[in-house]
């Protein structure tokens, strides 16, 4: 319990947001921009990411609270702070964690048609979202005494988690001087998945002045399920030697990572369009796809209704009364092995950009754009189990030199109105290094931040 609470509050603290990569989007100096918009207007001859180092991305977010709200050393009783935090949080607040690691990433321009650029690679992703189960947190923390006649809703319980590798290959084509279009095919290889969404039903303690007893405890139309893929076989690993057990788990994970698990397919599509010389609009849709869970599937489902109104005495039933048996009979927990399909979290990006400050003079390595500055507006949406997440950003792009390019973003989203992000990308000969972080204003006290995101990586670009 304590470990769980520590973990939960710990995660609550190191909060970053959704999968929004506002600094990287349409940053066409980097090949990783193709992963956010396969139709990005890039001008590389080829690129190769340094294996395992071309993109390290971590994104943790908590909407509604920060670690500082609970653990601040401010002399207040921690129990009051926890209670305040629980009261402040709503059932639409959530914790999210996304981590991506590019294993390989490469691309080259077609020799036959220089307007075509191909790119591909493999990356690993962990994506987790857990909504705050407000009603049941209140029930656990305060009990039901102050919540008589108030329903505790099972719909509050909503979470999904996915650990997978993605194999992708895409093309990017300059259709004409104005339009660049791109698409990317993806093959998902799921390592582990769980999801518990669309739970229904309520638990209510109601007062019954005219009833058999003081209350009735009612579980009404409960329908709760937890779908898992990749869990059952792990549970079956029986090894007394921890190291051996860990090795078996790792072997299973590796097997699934290399297409041995549940598979899925998806696409990314996107475009860039120059309205005029200096105005550009872009749009993309990524991870439009699904995974088919057919192997190693186990779903736990509980359905039914139950009313408890105490123990009747004298007991009329010869067998006595066992409440737990009655409950299990009324709401049986079934273990099913039915296949299921789950959509990937679809992401939409869009932007409008105005470029200016045309480079004059010699020495410009202006292979992509003759302009040194740009500003614009970006929108991001990601579909999530309960509702989409949105973010809107203003950005300013600056080519500081041929060696150094940067982008600053100001983002407004569900969590913050003061999220400043910065990306710096160095290009020295063919070697590129970039680093990006957001929520810079919160760096003076990271514990109070509700979000931040870090990406960094090395590429070889020509």
């Amino acid at each position: 319990m304590r470990i769980l609470l520590c973990l939960y509050i710990g995660l609550l603290g190191c909060s970053l947001y959704s999968q929004n990569k506002e600094t990287l989007y349409d940053f066409t100096d980097l090949p990783q921009s193709l992963m956010l918009n396969p139709g990005a207007d890039i001008n590389f001859k080829y690129h190769a990411g340094v294996p395992f180092l071309s993109q390290i991305h971590v994104n943790v977010g908590f909407k509604g609270a920060s670690i500082y709200d609970v653990f601040a050393d401010d002399g207040r009783d921690i129990n009051d702070k926890i209670e305040n935090t629980i009261n402040t949080l709503g059932s639409n607040d959530f914790f999210t964690l996304t981590q991506q690691l590019e294993i390989i990433n490469f691309g080259w321009r077609s020799k036959k048609d220089t307007n075509l650029y191909y790119s591909g690679g493999i990356y690993q992703e962990l994506d987790l979202i857990v909504y705050f189960p407000k009603d049941f947190a209140v029930l656990a923390y305060q009990g039901n005494q102050d919540f008589i006649n108030v329903p505790f809703r099972f719909s509050n319980i909503s979470a999904t988690g996915e650990f997978l590798t993605v194999y992708h290959f895409g093309y990017n084509k300059k259709v004409n001087k104005k339009l660049t279009f791109g698409a990317r095919a993806k093959l998902y290889s799921s390592i582990f998945n769980f999801r518990s969404t669309k739970n229904r039903g309520t638990f209510t303690t109601i007062e019954t002045p005219q009833g058999n007893n003081i209350y009735q405890h009612i579980i009404s139309n409960a329908d709760a399920s937890l779908q898992t893929a990749g869990y059952a076989s792990l549970r079956d690993i029986e090894s007394e030697d921890n190291a051996d057990g860990a090795k078996q788990v790792l072997n299973k994970f590796l097997g699934r990572a290399f297409l041995g698990g549940n598979l899925g397919v998806g696409v990314d599509i996107g475009f860039s369009y120059k309205l005029e010389d200096q105005w550009t609009i872009t749009g993309s849709m990524t991870d439009l796809g699904m995974i088919f869970y057919t192997k190693d599937v186990e779903t736990y489902r509980a359905r039914g209704s139950f009313v408890f109104e105490g123990l009747e005495t004298p007991i009329t039933d010869d067998n006595g009364q066992d409440i737990l048996d009655e409950l299990e009979e009324a709401i049986p927990i079934d273990t099913l092995n039915t296949s299921y399909t789950a959509l990937r979290p679809l992401k939409l990006n869009g932007s409008i950009k105005y470029s200016f400050n045309r480079y004059v003079g010699d020495g410009c390595d202006c292979q992509d754009s003759p302009y040194q500055d740009a500003f614009g507006f970006q929108l991001f949406t990601q579909f999530r189990p309960k509702r989409p997440q949105y973010a809107a950003s203003l950005f300013y792009y600056k080519r500081l030199s041929n060696f150094l390019k940067g982008k600053v973003t100001y983002t407004v989203d569900d969590y913050s109105y003061k999220n400043i992000g910065l990306l710096l990308s160095t290009h020295i000969n063919k070697i590129n290094f970039y680093i990006s972080a957001n929520n810079l204003l919160e760096y003076s006290n990271l514990a109070d931040a509700r979000g931040a995101s870090v990406q960094l990586g090395f590429n070889v670009i020509m």
Partner: protein
């Protein structure tokens, strides 16, 4: 030259980020002070005793009769207060009874915790039930504020005593009745569990 400047700038920005980023005044030791104190209310026992059901067949009008004690005695499994969780983490349990009586007789309601083998453990709890006013009248509710055992409080020390309790015996002690008596005794009750769970 430009390369050097670039690195100098990156270093400068990195230094600013590192020196300004910090985690202020956090105290994780506070976890030791976290105490969960929810209060759960749950129905306890309920019963209905209608005089008419207990008048022996063929009893003439206005005749006194008694009910054998075993008829209104019952033992139910109730090991909630005897679990390790209860002993370690329950501050107290309050049993609140609400007896509604329309029978023109006073009764006594008794509770006794028992071990698995049926041995009494802890004290015997009694609730005095006031006489009602007759069938069709507003029931008289017992116990009333200030009456003993209203509610029955099982504090942590008592819960420790009841560690081996597995059952609870209930008994309605009925005085001599009259075959003309009508009305019912309705017993309703709840248990309030005051949890004190330290992480």
């Amino acid at each position: 030259m430009k390369t050097k400047k670039t690195y100098a700038l990156l270093l400068f920005i990195g230094a600013i980020l590192i020196t300004t980023s910090c985690v202020k005044e956090l105290d994780f030791e506070q976890l030791d002070e976290v105490v969960l104190t929810p209060v759960f209310e749950a129905d306890f026992i309920y019963s209905e005793f209608d005089v008419e059901d207990y008048i022996p067949q063929g009893t003439p009008s206005n005749t006194e009769f008694t009910i054998p004690p075993e008829v209104l005695r019952d033992t139910i499994n109730y090991d909630l207060v005897g679990t390790d969780f209860a002993i370690d983490n329950l501050d107290r349990v309050e049993l609140t009874m609400e007896v509604r009586n329309t029978i023109q007789r006073a009764f006594t309601l008794q509770f006794q915790f028992l071990t698995q083998t049926g041995q009494p453990i802890g004290q015997l709890y009694s609730i005095e039930v006031r006489a009602g006013l007759g069938e069709g009248t507003e029931p008289v509710v017992s116990p009333q504020p200030g009456d003993p055992n209203n509610p029955i409080v099982l504090d942590n020390a008592t819960l420790n005593q009841l560690a081996s309790a597995q059952k609870i015996a209930t008994e309605i002690i009925v005085p001599t009745l009259n075959s003309d008596l009508r009305g019912a005794l309705q017993i309703r009750s709840k248990a309030s569990y005051y949890v004190n769970y330290q992480l």
